[in-house]
């Protein structure tokens, strides 16, 4: 079993829809949770990070963590064509310079105009 599991999609929704992207993880020691966004032919870039359980909102994006279920989500409100990208969840294993960031396999999202 992989430490971090993510549905690869692709997920296609109409512009303006609410998008829900999800990951599950197996390591209960994970405490920080990140979402990276990767546009086609580009490197991933950090979109949001959150610590422990609960919600964190940033504009149209909300990150949600449920540590009891080992489940994290990213919600995108009022989705735009510019949100079309691959979204990768990520968690650091360790908290030093030697920590490894473990990535999910990414969900490819397409927003139809």
């Amino acid at each position: 079993q992989k430490e971090v599991e993510q549905d690869p999609g692709p997920l296609s929704v109409p512009e303006g829809a609410i998008v829900s992207l999800n990951c599950t993880y197996s390591n209960s020691a994970f405490q920080y949770f990140m979402w990276y966004r990767q546009y086609s032919r580009k490197g991933p870039e950090l979109l949001m990070y959150t610590y422990s359980s609960g919600n964190k909102e940033d504009g149209r994006f909300t990150a949600q963590v449920d540590k009891s279920s080992k489940y994290i989500s990213l919600f995108i409100r009022d989705s735009q064509p510019s949100d079309s990208a691959t979204y990768l969840c990520a968690m650091p294993r360790g908290y030093s310079s030697a920590s490894k960031i473990i990535f999910g396999s990414g969900t490819r999202l397409s927003i139809r105009p």
Partner: protein, 116 residues
Amino acid sequence: DTAVSQTPKYLVTQMGNDKSIKCEQNLGHDTMYWYKQDSKKFLKIMFSYNNKELIINETVPNRFSPKSPDKAHLNLHINSLELGDSAVYFCASSQAVELKVTGELFFGEGSRLTVL
């Protein structure tokens, strides 16, 4: 100014050849990484250097040899290329203190390697 830059962006080569990818970061970060992303977008860490010292070495064939001449540069040399080495290789950097807080890695645009 590109923060993390990799060269070349594209490599097409025959099996058995040797190739190198170079990476430079101008962010002043002390840690650099090589990640491999396969065709299914799975991003897996290969190596990490902190101030020129190797600190992470995943289970990677020893045909792959990283070198860090200084903390702003991290190169990857691959010997005897195989078909399975075809992937996008990403260089990334981070500042150790910030990594604990935000988990932020700064990625280059990737080097797409195709082995024929």
